[in-house]
Amino acid sequence: MTKFAVRALPVALLTLTASLAWADDVPSNTVRVGEYWLFYHVYADNIKGPYVPDGLNLSVKDVQTPYLAYLRRLATNFTLELSFGVPPLTKTYGKGPATVGSVPYNGEEISTARWLAPSVLMQYVFLDDSYKLRPYIGAGFNYVLFYDRDSTAAGNAAAGGPTRISLPSSLGPAVTAGLNYQITRNWSVSASYSASRVETQLTAHTEGVARTSNITFGPQTFVVAAGFSF
C-alpha cells in the first residue's frame, strides 16, 4: 500500500497542477472570502494586584469568524496578502479556584473584547502560474487591536465592581503556509494555516485599583476561503 501511495502521489499532483490555458493572462488582484478558525493558545501570568488571592488566571475561548483578504500578485512567485477576520468577540474565562470568596470564578465568562487583527504577509508561491494547485508559504506581521473591551457581570462580581478592561494593541510576527487551487481564471479556493505571536497586558481597573496579567497569545488560524481574481 505504501509503495503504491508513494508512486501515485506525484501522478495525482501532476494532474491537479496541470497547466492552465489562461496562464499568460493572470489577474494581479485577488479578494478572498472565507471562514477563519482562531485557536488562541493563551499563556497568562496569574493576575496580580490589590486584594487578589493567589492562583487566579485566565483562559480564552477559541472562535470562528468570517475571513477577508486582499492579495496583490507582485510576481510569478510573490504575492502580498493583507488579511483580517471580521473581529470576533473574544471571551475570557476565569481559570483557577472555583470561587473567589463565595463568588464563582473558574469557568466564568469574565470579559469580552473584539479582536481586530490585520496581517500583512509576503508569500512565496511555489510553481508557476501554469499550475492549478500551488502551495505557498509566507511571513510578515500581525497587528492586533482590542476594542469593545467589556467586563461581564460575572467579571464585575469577581473584581468587586464595575470594571474597565485595558488591553494594549500588539504587533508581532506571523507566518503562514497554504494551498491555493485555481478553478478558473477568476475563481480559486484556498486553505491555509497561520501562526503569530501576540503579547499584551490585561489590566482591570476596578474602583480605583488596577489588577494586571501579562498575556501571551500564540494564535493559530485555519482558513478556508474562496478567491476572486481581477
Binding site: S28, S102, R114, D148, D150, T206, G208
Partner: protein, 532 residues
Amino acid sequence: MYRFFCHIGVALAAAVLAACGSDSPTGTESASTARGTLAISPPLRIASVDAATFQAQISATASGPQLLEITGAPTCGVDFYYIKFWTVGAAAEVTESSGALMVPTGAAPACSGPRPIVLYAHGTQFEKAFNIANITDPTNTEGALIAATFAAQGYIVVAPNYAGYDSSTLGYHPFLNATQESGEMIDALAAGRTALPTTFAASTTDSGVLFISGYSEGGFVAMATQRAMETTGAKVTAAAPMSGPYALEALFDAIVTGNVNVGSTLFTPLVTTSYQQAYGNIYSVPTDFYSATYATGIATLMPTTVTPYKDLFLQGKLPETAVFDSTTPVVTVPGNPVLSGELTALLAVPSNPANPLTPLFAAGFGNPYLINNSVRVGYTLDAASDPDGTATGSASIAAKAPTYPLRLDLYKNDLRNTSWAPNSPTLLCGGENDPTVFFSVDTLTMAAFWSLLPLGAVTVLDVDPATAPSGPFAAIQAGFQTSQAEEYAYLQTVAGGGLSPAEAKEQLVEEYHGTSVPPFCSIAARAFFSQF
C-alpha cells in the same frame, strides 16, 4: 496599485471605527472634596463570602474556632467594601481617608432589608498600611472580629481606617484628637451611607438605627463621636465604647508618674506627633522632648512603614519598653522641700512589691530611654499644682487648663472636658486588669463622672471582675475567665510554647488588652445593641 491600497486602508479604518463601541466603565471619582463625600462610587468590593464560607475561613485560622465560640456562627454572608472618602486632618487639611463598609448578605431575614448600622472605630494600629476593609489580610484580626460579631449577624458596619493610614495622604495620624477623629467618623458614616445603595448588596438598606462602638483608641473615638453627634442633635440609638482612654489627663498623669503601660514606647510618638501637628506646642525640636538616641526622625516615625512594626526595636528607632530614664530626676519646688521630695519619689522606678504590676511598670525604665527627664519633671510639677480629680479622690478633670503643653493637649481632648453626658444608652466595657488602658483610671472614672445620670443611662461591664460573675453579662464574664484559664494552661503546653507559669502569666498580661478582652467586649456590645 497605490490607489487601491489607499482604498483598502480607508475601508479598514471605516470598519474599525464602525465596530468600535465604548469599553465598559469603572466607578466614578467624585469631583468634590467636601468632607463626608464618597471619593469613588460605587466602592470596591474586596471580598464577598456567604455565611458558610465565612465560617469555614474563620475556622481555618489559629484562633478562629475560639472566636466563633464567642461570636456564634455567622447567620449572614458578608460583603467587604473598601470606601474612600474625604475628610480633614487636625489642622483642617483636606485629605482622603479610607475604611470598610461591611454589608450583611444572604437569605435569612436578618441579612437584608432595613438593617442597623454599627459605626466602629478600631484600636491603635502601628503600621501605616493597615486597612480594616482588607479581610484577605490574615493580620487584620480586628476586621475579622468585627465582621464576625456584627456584620455576620445582620449589622451593617462602617469603620474608617483613620487619616494617616492606608491610602490617606495625611502625613501623620491625629491620634487621640477628639475633634478630628470624631469628625472623621461622621464623615465615614456619611460616605458609607452614600455607598450602601450602590453596592452589589443594595437590598440591604439603612434602617436608621445607629450604634457607635470602638475599642481602645477606638473606644475613645467612639465616645468622642457619640458626643459630637449628640451635641449637634444627630440621632444615636446606643453606644458601646470599649477599653478606651477617655480620661486622657488622668491616664497620662498615671503613666508619667511611673505606671508605664504596655506599648507606651509606640504610643508616645503617635501622641506627640498628633498634638504637635494640631497645636504645635510639644517641642521646638524633637530633642526638647525625646532623648538624642531616638529623636532623629521620630516626628514622622509613626504610624510606621516598617513591617512588622516590631522591627523598629531591632532597627534602634524605638526602645522596646524603656520609655523613661532609669535615673530618677530630681524635682525642685522652690521653697517646698517636702513636696520636692514627694514628687521626686513619685518619679522613681516603681518598686512596690505589693503591686503585682510593679515588674511591668519597672520595665518602662532604662537607658537608653525615649523621653527626657525634663518632660517628666515639667509635667509632674503641672500635675501637682493643678491636679486631676483622680489624684484627689474625685472623677473630675483638672480645675483649670494645665500649663505644661502636653498636659494641656491631653486636657483639651479628655472626654470629661465638656458639659456633655450621654443622651443615648451607653455601655462601657473593659477588663479591670488591663495593663495598657487602665480600667480604673478610664472606664471607672467616666462612670463616676456620670454617676448622677439616671439609672441605666450608662452601664459598666468589667469582663474580668475580681468577684464572681454576676448581672446580665455574667455569661460573658464567666466566658472571659474560662478563656484566660484555658490560655494560661495552653501557653504551658508544648503547642503553646512550653512557657513556665511565670512566663505564661507575663504573656497573658501582654495579650490582655489587644487580644483577650476585645472579643468579649464586642459580644457584650452586640448583646447590648440587640435591645434597641
